[in-house]
């Protein structure tokens, strides 16, 4: 029997050797986190998502240039063109509380004076103004609620996972109880009882969304920490007598937090959606505040004549859908990247 040397290119051997350069950024994030980030930037769907998100960020930053506020002290107050209750169609003349004409207006629309570009809703609130300035409201509420729920969830979940045993058991039963009621019902009740205390503003709804929004994160981070906790370096830290809190915050958390962080950053779309639903049900801001849910809720009294007044739901509705879709597109790609079955294939 003759022994032959292996021929052809042996890819099995080649795979153990790093053939590409590892940059500083990748070294900083770690290979797994780097894979998640680059994976997100590769699919067309998530790129479309990023473009949508960037578009809305642009609108919210440029709001005063797109349509200047009429009351400078309170730019979130949608200007009212009179007090007639029935909506007026797109392109109708704007007579009272007219904003200044911005530089782009004449070039794009070919008109010298403001008209109601997207019509007015019940009570003559300008829909275009509501949508543009509502973008700021959306980001404001989305960011605050997401950051707060994330922090609370991380702290709660890591304490629960780190101490384990009895403490963990009690803390997780509390989470179970908070998760029993459908979240929209719990949030609605809390927001409505907070409204007389705090007054009609964004705050009651935001507090309610935070109070019932953090449980998911605490569950995820708890699971991640439980697996990181078993690693040798944690044991080593404990052996040399590092304090509990230091082990938790310096050694465990940084190694467990990244997937939750990415998930949380994409939850802004869902938060804005829940917030709009609350405004639609009548909880939240003062009437006339630039907020997408509120602009939509003006349509509730005009259901029977929607064939004439279609623009009072189509434009704000479309804005909300596109905004949420931007986040969902990125989130969908993220789910693929995070899927353990996809690991190893970038």
């Amino acid at each position: 029997m003759t022994v032959t040397a292996p021929t052809g290119d042996n890819t099995l051997l080649g795979e153990n050797v790093a053939t590409r350069k590892i940059g500083r950024f990748e070294r900083f994030l770690g290979p797994e986190n780097y894979r998640i980030l680059t994976g997100l930037l590769k699919t067309p769907a998530s790129i479309a998502g990023f473009v949508l998100i960037a578009f809305f960020i642009f609108i919210s930053l440029a709001a005063p240039l797109i349509i200047p506020p009429v009351t400078a002290s309170d730019p979130f107050k949608i200007p009212r063109d009179g007090f007639r209750s029935d909506p007026r169609p797109m392109g109708s003349e704007w007579t009272r509380n007219v904003p200044d004409v911005p530089f782009w207006y004449k070039a794009v629309t070919g008109k010298d004076e403001w008209v109601h570009l997207l019509g007015t809703s019940e009570g003559q609130y300008d829909i275009f103004y509501g949508i543009v300035w509502g973008t700021r409201t959306a980001f404001k509420t989305g960011l605050v609620v997401t950051i707060a729920t994330f922090l609370i969830g991380i702290i709660y979940g890591s304490i629960s996972a780190y101490y384990g045993g009895f403490v963990d058991n009690i803390m997780m039963r509390v989470v179970d109880i908070l998760l029993i009621l459908p979240s929209i019902l719990a949030v609605l009740i809390l927001a409505s009882v907070l409204t007389p205390r705090i007054g009609k503003s964004l705050i009651p709804a935001m507090i309610a969304l935070i109070a019932f929004g953090w449980m998911g994160y605490s569950r995820i981070i708890r699971g991640d920490i439980l697996s990181v906790k078993q690693r040798d370096y944690v044991l080593a830290a404990r052996v040399i007598g590092v304090k509990d809190s230091r082990i938790l915050f310096r050694h465990i958390l940084p190694n467990a937090i990244f997937p939750t962080l990415v998930l949380a950053s994409l939850a802004i779309g869902d938060v804005v959606l829940s917030f709009a639903a609350l405004s639609f049900l009548g909880i939240g801001t003062e009437v006339g505040y630039a907020d997408w849910g509120q602009v939509l809720s003006f349509a509730r009294n005009w259901i029977t004549s929607l064939n004439t007044y279609w623009y009072i739901i189509v434009w704000p509705g479309l804005t909300l859908v596109l905004f949420v879709m931007g986040w969902n597109l990125v989130g969908d790609a993220l789910r693929d990247v995070l899927d353990p079955r996809m690991r190893g294939k970038t």
């Binding site: 009621l181 929209i184 007389p196 349509a299 509705g317």
Partner: protein, 354 residues
């Protein structure tokens, strides 16, 4: 298995206690005056009357005393009559609905249940069908289309989709309308000639032999059913697709193909049944979710179910009704989740053994 069920059952009162304490604590944000204000009709409000009510129902007491009173009620010292007490079935009187809360729930819940029952089949079957098609045509045109559909579906807020449906099918085409029944039929249903066997309207209509009422009820439910299903289709599609793709990669599927079985049989007889386990869990939780999550859909379509009543109670600060709905919802959801878990243990031997 039996110990598992018993352990879960023992947890039910604990969870219910937790939920009611939670709601009770939230309601403490309202001052005693605000909690009684709904029950005093004169304007300007009669301070004496409000104070009397606060004293009578103990709203100025510490929270644990109030909670105890809510649980067991208060026995009048002279007449010996017990007033209130949720444990004795007294849920209180709802001002926003002008009827006792128990009666309100009893009237509204069958409507929600009716809607849920009719939503289950289209929601699950069409969702699964789309998921299987997407998996079978993996990375093909159908798969991409399904992906777009599911992303659009998850991005649509319920109320925006509902309003759009009303815009198209009600305001423009006049095919379907919001509400529960046409006015003419409402009188028939309320009259004594119509027997309420099950209090589920569609089934009662059939049992009474009124096929026209049955159709009318379905016609009013069509848009809510479509809205509720559409929102869930995306999730069913995604889960079925993922599970189906995984199953199609297994070796027994390759074996079946190698044996020369027709592709139809390979997919529908060999692969699909095994791919259905995760979908089954999802189906369980979705049905449970429907019972509690119809709040917005019912409000948009003006459908007289328990969700729209709860929304009304919350926005009008009707404390008694809020507590009643939260308790009832909590009870239903805890029991339904328990049933889903137990059923799942029966279907999947792996869960039973662990």
């Amino acid at each position: 298995m039996t110990t598992y069920i018993i352990r879960r059952l023992l947890l039910v009162p604990v969870l219910l206690f937790g939920v009611t304490v939670l709601i009770f604590a939230m309601l403490q944000f309202l001052s005693p005056v605000e909690r009684t204000a709904l029950y005093v009709r004169d304007f300007p409000k009669n301070d004496k009357a409000i104070e009397g009510l606060i004293k009578r129902y103990g709203f100025d007491q510490p929270i644990y005393v109030q909670y105890w009173t809510w649980l067991v009620g208060k026995v009048d010292k002279t007449s010996g009559v017990r007033e209130g007490g949720i444990l004795f079935g007294n849920f209180g009187y709802s001002r926003s609905a002008s009827q006792p809360v128990a009666e309100l729930i009893a009237r509204r819940f069958p409507n929600t249940l009716d809607l849920t029952i009719w939503t289950v089949a289209p929601m699950i079957l069409i969702g699964i069908w789309m998921g299987v098609q997407a998996a079978v045509h993996h990375n093909g045109f159908i798969d991409q289309a399904a992906r777009v559909f599911s992303i659009v579906g998850t991005s649509f807020p319920t109320f925006v989709f509902g309003l759009l449906m009303l815009l198209i099918f009600y305001a423009n085409l006049h095919w379907f309308s919001p509400g529960r029944l046409s006015d003419a039929y409402n009188q028939v249903v309320d009259s004594s000639s119509f027997t309420h066997y099950t209090s589920l309207l569609t089934f009662d209509a059939l049992l009474n032999g009124r096929f026209d009422i049955f159709l009318d009820a379905l016609r009013h439910m069509f848009l809510p059913i479509l809205t509720l299903s559409y929102i869930s289709w995306a999730t069913f599609l995604r889960v079925t697709r993922g599970s189906m793709l995984e199953t199609l990669r297994m070796e027994y599927v390759t074996t079946a193909r190698a044996m020369g079985l027709p592709e139809r049989d390979v997919i529908f007889k060999h692969a699909q049944p095994n791919a259905m386990l995760p979908v089954l869990t999802l189906a369980g939780f979705s049905i449970v979710g429907l019972l509690g999550g119809v709040l917005i859909t019912e409000t948009v379509f003006n459908y007289p179910g328990i969700g729209s009543a709860a929304a009304r109670a919350a926005t009008s600060l009707d404390v008694v009704a809020m507590l009643g709905f939260a308790l009832f919802n909590g009870l239903i959801l805890i029991v339904a989740n328990l049933v889903v878990d137990v059923l799942y243990a029966f279907v999947d031997p792996r869960v039973r053994l662990s």
